[in-house]
Amino acid sequence: MTRRLLNGLVLVALLVVAGFVIHTTPTDAQRDAPIVVSGAIGSPLSGRNIAVTVHEVHLADVVSTASWQGETEGVWVVVDASAAAVETENGALLNAALVIGDRTFSASGRPGLDTIADQSLAVGIPITGPIMFEVPVDAANGRAELRFAQNGDPRADSVLAVAVDLSGLELEEMLTASEISRGGS
């Protein structure tokens, strides 16, 4: 009788442990989820191997740089930001995105080398300059989120997120973007 009771208790204990393991094991999505560090415009954000500060955000119909001028049927969201690596110099700012609602816009490649998107990141030496996003007119209002990561695939790595309220920004007819610079703080 005692032995049967003991067996029953062991079985219950094993079931409880199994249930605990099943319900606490991370799903694939949870295991691969990026580690998000959130902040505001002007505040330095730092992750595993990326540090970013968003200085300003502008809306414009036309953007020009030293060697490029871009018109659009939508709106340019121009972000002035600084980015650096933290530990090693084996990456670039390959993942800069603007999330508006359920839509995600990648940084435009149209400005070529006049944007800091896709540029190599140096450890402790920030590169400062513009990142341009080309979005539809109906998307350029309301709350949005800027996201930055070092790799094209940010799974299980740091993603720096900055909240932006696009509805509070004035639409400029023509914007001259800042030039890219290195160093400083």
Binding site: E87, E89, A122, V123, G124, I125, S181, R182, G183, G184
Partner: protein
Amino acid sequence: MSWIRSNWIALAALVALIPATIGLTFSAQWLGYFATWPSEPTVVPVNQSATYDTADWSVLDATRVSADSQEGSDLGLPEGTDLVSVQVRVDPRGPSPYCTLELDELRDDTILRTWNATLEFTTAERSGCESDYAVTYSFETQFLVPSDAGADDLGLALNLSTTDELPRYLRLYF
């Protein structure tokens, strides 16, 4: 107790097999991971040389130029940066091995930050290993670092590695 006694062989096998399985799984993953990058340093103190791969290596000289200095201004160094130049002597036995060069910032034995070599400001004849050299030669490698690199209790060391010797590498202090 009688159950344990009658099943002791299977239980003993479990005791041996569980740690062995975990050990094999981790070793297959981690040993392969560490073998592909410089992870086993051989420390070379200041003014000393070391044999590594098929050559002897030593640091001849090292300089540091601040962006705030006249020389740094003339070079066009970005604000808040220093240019670290390290001159390395190579005594190869046969053709010189090709090497990869990085600059590590360390606290004790822990690497905090690592910079890649830059060619942006170099005026040296040789800026790295020359695999077609079979005689003694030297080169100068440069690193652009923030001005706080190696400050206070932190140290800087040249990280020199060759593909054939990985994961072993030289940590050359200067």
